[in-house]
């Protein structure tokens, strides 16, 4: 168990190092920051001069080390476009995005668990097929199309919910919820449809196991048998998918936040990319990629907690 954990930690650290170097290299090579700081009006000489002044001519590895050690303490430098420190900006935005992502995953789970389990328990019956078809359609609808349709129905036609905007939860919790319902649904419903398919096949696998048949023979209903003996095993493949989906939702937030004008890291990133604010893009992409790597690390650790069989494989 300890060895497994150490191995996973090592993989996480190496992945982070490689990924961050790639991000740094793409942005900083060829005097990138100097070039975009001067804009299209900058002559080649002035770019080169600023490049030297900004220290971009030093060996890449030296620059990278300086950047990553500062980034580790939350210091991503100062944007040369907005003249604001990037670090604090990212932290503010990240907390907003966190609400969005967590809510979306909750929606996905609330949709997927009953839908997937019901369609597995009713496997082979018409109602089971209908449930499976619903999730198939849900998969094809991208989050931003879902978002526009939801806005159309609930904000434009019915006028039940606001079409965009964000309210800080501490100032007015009720309004915060009202503003977040549509973003949560846009991201969560689609992921829920995807997840339901995996829940369905995981539960179907379990229902075919001998120990579940034994439990049924003891007189338990299919649902009871599943709850006592099957769910723990079924949760393992589902957990992997949730890990992947957390990352998908995190990236999907870029578009959803743009649509609903939510001041999260996704909107910040899209705006910065459009404004060619390279240092901000660099910091934000690093934050998102590290978050993604951290999620897959945590999912791997959780495996070991849930599945005792994996803990014995210490010597592998």
């Amino acid at each position: 168990m300890a060895w497994q954990l150490l191995r996973r930690c090592l993989i996480f650290l190496i992945s982070t190092a490689v990924a961050s170097f790639l991000i740094f290299w793409i942005i900083d090579s060829d005097c990138g920051p100097a070039r975009s700081a001067l804009g299209i009006g900058g002559t080649e000489e002035s770019v080169q001069a600023l490049c030297t002044q900004m220290g971009l001519k030093r060996p890449l590895i030296v620059q990278y080390w300086e950047w990553i050690t500062h980034a580790a303490t939350g210091d991503f430098g100062v944007s040369y476009i907005s003249r604001r420190a990037i670090g604090p900006q990212i932290f503010d935005q990240l907390s907003v995005t966190l609400w969005l992502v967590l809510g979306a995953i909750v929606v996905a789970l609330v949709v997927a668990l009953p839908l997937g389990m019901a369609s597995a328990l009713r496997h082979g019956k018409v109602s089971g097929n209908i449930l499976a078809a619903i999730s198939q359609i849900g998969i094809a609808i991208p989050a931003f199309v879902a978002a526009l349709l939801l806005v159309l129905v609930f904000a434009v036609r019915l006028r039940w919910l606001p079409a965009n905007g964000y309210v800080v939860p501490a100032s007015d919790p009720a309004e915060f919820l009202r503003h977040m319902i549509l973003p949560w649904l846009s991201l969560g419903l689609v992921q829920g449809a995807v997840l339901a398919r995996y829940v369905r096949s995981a539960v179907l696998d379990e229902l075919g196991q001998d120990y579940l048949r034994t439990a049924r023979a003891k007189g338990l209903t299919p649902l009871q048998a599943l709850r006592r003996h099957g769910l723990r095993n079924a949760s393992i493949p589902v957990l992997t998918v949730i890990g992947v989906q957390l990352v998908t939702v995190l990236v999907g937030a870029v578009i959803i936040e743009r649509i609903f004008t939510i001041p999260g890291i996704g909107k910040g990133l899209a705006d910065a990319a459009q404004g060619q604010d390279l240092l901000t893009v660099q910091g934000m992409v690093l934050t998102l990629v590290v978050a993604a790597l951290m999620i897959s690390f945590l999912v791997d650790v959780l495996y070991n907690v849930i599945d005792p069989r994996l803990r014995q494989g210490a010597g592998r």
Partner: protein, 286 residues
């Protein structure tokens, strides 16, 4: 000559295509047809603005699907958008297949240690979704269709490597590859003569799934204003432009939304069907 029955086992009967796969095929063919037709004919010229019929609904003034805020014909723009979508998809998936397939075969043929190294690097690249790569490239070089295609292509490489590697591992454990080894055939020759033909089906399957993802990514990038420029029709861009008239003329954004969803559904269903045919091992495991 011995009896052929002992030499060649009877060919397994091919299952008929499921209705869902046929539906996917029809959708894909329809989109391809629309894109091809748009080269010769569109209901209106793409830049024609019908000032008398601005923001009108379907079947008004000869506009099958109505017009947008500036009076441009939506059906025409959808057809041209199909062209953009297919073009971006072909180039992006092409990049991914051309780079990913040889690397996948390589990862399946080298020593386990080297293979592990390639796969670990691959896992790191998998952590970069297309959208993030595109955002970095767009920030540095400016958003354009080219940036979008490269970003989507690069982001799809790890998927190819993973699938092709697992296919290669299977082929490498077969008797005919062992026989070829014993006969003295070298790695590159085995890769070309034995592995490539056997994983070709997998490449097609993966390409179909990657295509669906590429369509989504292109639409998302254009929607963010980082893909197709205003002069090029793109479904994502139409969706973005339609957002401003959401309250007055919602249909303008519904059409491209439906087009994107249908295209993704079509390629996904086609990919599932192809997977059942070419890769029985993975059938139904998704």
């Amino acid at each position: 000559m011995s009896a052929p029955a002992t030499r060649t086992p009877p060919k397994p009967k091919r299952r008929p295509l499921s209705p869902l796969v046929i539906f996917g095929l029809v959708v894909v063919l329809f989109i391809v047809l629309m894109a091809l037709v748009s080269f010769f004919w569109t209901p209106f010229t793409p830049i024609y603005t019908d000032l008398k019929n601005r923001s009108v609904g379907p079947f008004t003034g000869g506009h099958w699907l109505g017009t947008d805020r500036t009076g441009r014909d939506i059906a025409t723009r959808l057809m041209l958008g199909a062209r953009t979508t297919l073009y971006v998809g072909i180039v992006a998936v092409g990049i991914a297949a051309i780079i990913g397939t040889p690397l996948g075969i390589l990862a399946g043929m080298v020593r386990p240690g080297a293979s592990e190294f390639i796969m670990r690097t691959n896992d790191i690249l998998l952590a970069f979704p297309a959208l993030l790569i595109a955002l970095i490239l767009a920030a540095k070089y400016g958003g354009s269709i080219t940036t979008a295609m490269i970003a989507i292509g690069v982001a799809s490489i790890p998927g190819f490597i993973r699938v092709i590697r697992s296919g290669t591992l299977q082929v490498m454990s077969t008797d005919y590859v062992k026989a070829a080894r014993v006969a003295g055939r070298r790695g590159p020759a085995i890769a070309v003569r034995h592995v490539l033909p056997n994983v070709a089906g997998l490449v097609i399957v993966q390409a179909s799934s990657a295509y669906a993802i590429a369509i989504l990514a292109e639409a998302a990038l254009s929607f963010l204003g980082l893909g197709a420029p205003p002069s090029v029709s793109s479904w994502g861009r139409m969706l973005y432009e339609g957002q401003s008239t959401m309250t007055t003329d919602p249909l303008v954004s519904v059409w491209p939304g439906v087009a994107i969803a249908l295209a993704v559904l079509g390629f996904n269903l086609l990919g599932d069907g192809l997977r059942d045919r070419y890769d029985p091992r993975m059938a139904g495991s998704r």
